[in-house]
Symmetry: C2
Subunit: 283 residues, 2 copies
């Protein structure tokens, strides 16, 4: 149960534990301020692997200029305890300078459509930062299995693409989104919400649940479901929709009629806080 | 001693040889049509490692539109024998479709100056292709040590930068350029040269050797040495200079006066054939 700050110490620790044998390493990369969503990933990694590494690193290259890098919530003591209690063997919590050296200029980029739509529209450099840091962490930790939450559905699809295209020998395991009892999708950013914003934000999960109900009752028209959700969200005066999209769950391509497993994904701003949520429709 | 065509078979073969233990793997990535330069890398890899993997893959993403991808020389039977005789345990010779799947769109790119100057000027997408294929092959082979020839001095510097920036746990080992008895730097592309071009191309090594002699006799002015070389090369009617540069050997930054270890690097076209050569000046 170690909290490790440097790459060299992390590699040494892993090498010592491996002791010349190849162990299955499970890896959970996070930006910290852990919630039950993260913990579900750590617990799953504990079940599947010999050694569980959790990283806590607020990655600057995935934040845009006017985003919340400086205010992103942090609590490493609490995170360390939660991670260990959930099954982590090693918590890796490097400083920015440890990860990005002064003249660092190499990037990993998924250049296809996948990174340009949805969150890529309002956050054009976001996914390039994500794939770069994940590739770096994969090279440092060298896991057999890596765990990501389906709340970030586009991120999961992009990382799966990167792993396939760059031949990383790593299984990407995605785990279901976790919600508060009242339906709000767990996010480290939920702490930014005022009381009123928090109340109004419930419309996101509510509208997704109702849309799923409509789908289960026979509505297969993506445009109608999308309009239904948009209308519900727009009924809240603090909500500003970034996008509501209904997509093939695998390719993330837009669809007209629901015929294959589908994801409804949305991003909505409440004040300065941008929330995302999604729901899967099985066929 | 296997010739392997698919990634899965290569991984299985390596896994079987490793048998649960971590072995030191030495890796020599090549585009084939092996010459003594390549063989010196394989021999060095044999000395240093438990297992030696040589790849032979003419990588399309590092060729520009009007370059020699289609005519690049190939002789896999001869290459296999030469590689094995020099110490290779495994020769990996995949088809293009095995390495780049249909929708492949992820690239690794060193974005700094390093890729934009010298060969990057006339081959603007070249190094992006190089770093992408090398990253892919690193992920497939997972070597401890990887071997590159100093003939491609810029490539070595760029790969070292990629390895550092992306935290690959791999030692990059560069080996000296190998020449024909008459001084011509070995290159798979030398077969393109006509008899007359081959004769005139000797001016490259000749001018580098003479420049080194001038330096050893006290000439430290980079501009003068550069002009000396350019004049000598321009005395040959078939030679068209792409660049002659005198650079800090480590940073590849231009210098005025030679004070630190320096490289003189040049690229010159003879007919359709573009040759590169270089020489180091020690201080």
């Amino acid at each position: 149960m170690s909290l490790i700050k440097t790459i060299d110490k992390l590699k040494n620790e892993i090498r010592n534990i491996q002791n010349g044998k190849i162990l299955n390493i499970g890896f959970v990369p996070t930006m910290g301020y852990l919630h039950e969503g993260h913990l579900s990933l750590i617990k799953k990694a504990r079940e599947d692997n010999d050694l569980v590494v959790v990283s806590i690193f607020v990655n600057p290259t995935q934040f845009g200029k006017n985003e919340d890098l400086d205010s992103y919530p942090k609590d490493i003591d609490r995170d360390f305890k939660l991670a260990v209690d959930s099954g982590a063997d090693i918590v890796f919590n490097p400083e920015v300078e440890e990860i990005y050296t002064k003249n660092s200029c190499t990037f990993v980029n998924v250049e296809g459509d996948l990174t340009k739509k949805l969150c890529g529209l309002s956050r054009p450099t976001h996914f390039k930062g994500v794939t770069t840091i994940v590739a770096k962490l994969f090279n440092i930790v060298r896991p057999k299995n890596a765990y990501f939450g389906e709340k970030d559905a586009q991120q999961v699809a992009i990382i799966e693409k990167m792993v396939e295209d760059l031949n990383f020998d790593i299984n990407i395991i995605s785990c279901p989104l976790v919600r508060e009892d009242d339906g709000l999708a767990l996010s480290s950013r939920n702490v930014y919400l005022s009381k009123e914003e928090r109340e109004q934000a419930l419309i996101l999960s509510e509208s997704l649940f109702k849309a799923k109900e409509l789908y289960l009752n026979g509505e297969k028209d993506a445009k109608k479901l999308k309009e239904f959700i948009e209308n519900k969200i727009n009924s809240k005066n603090l909500a500003r929709i970034d996008y509501v999209e209904i997509l093939d769950a695998k390719t993330l391509e837009e669809i007209d009629v629901i015929k294959t497993k589908t994801i409804i994904a949305l991003a909505v701003k409440f004040g300065k806080t941008r929330l995302i949520d999604n729901i899967y429709l099985e066929v």
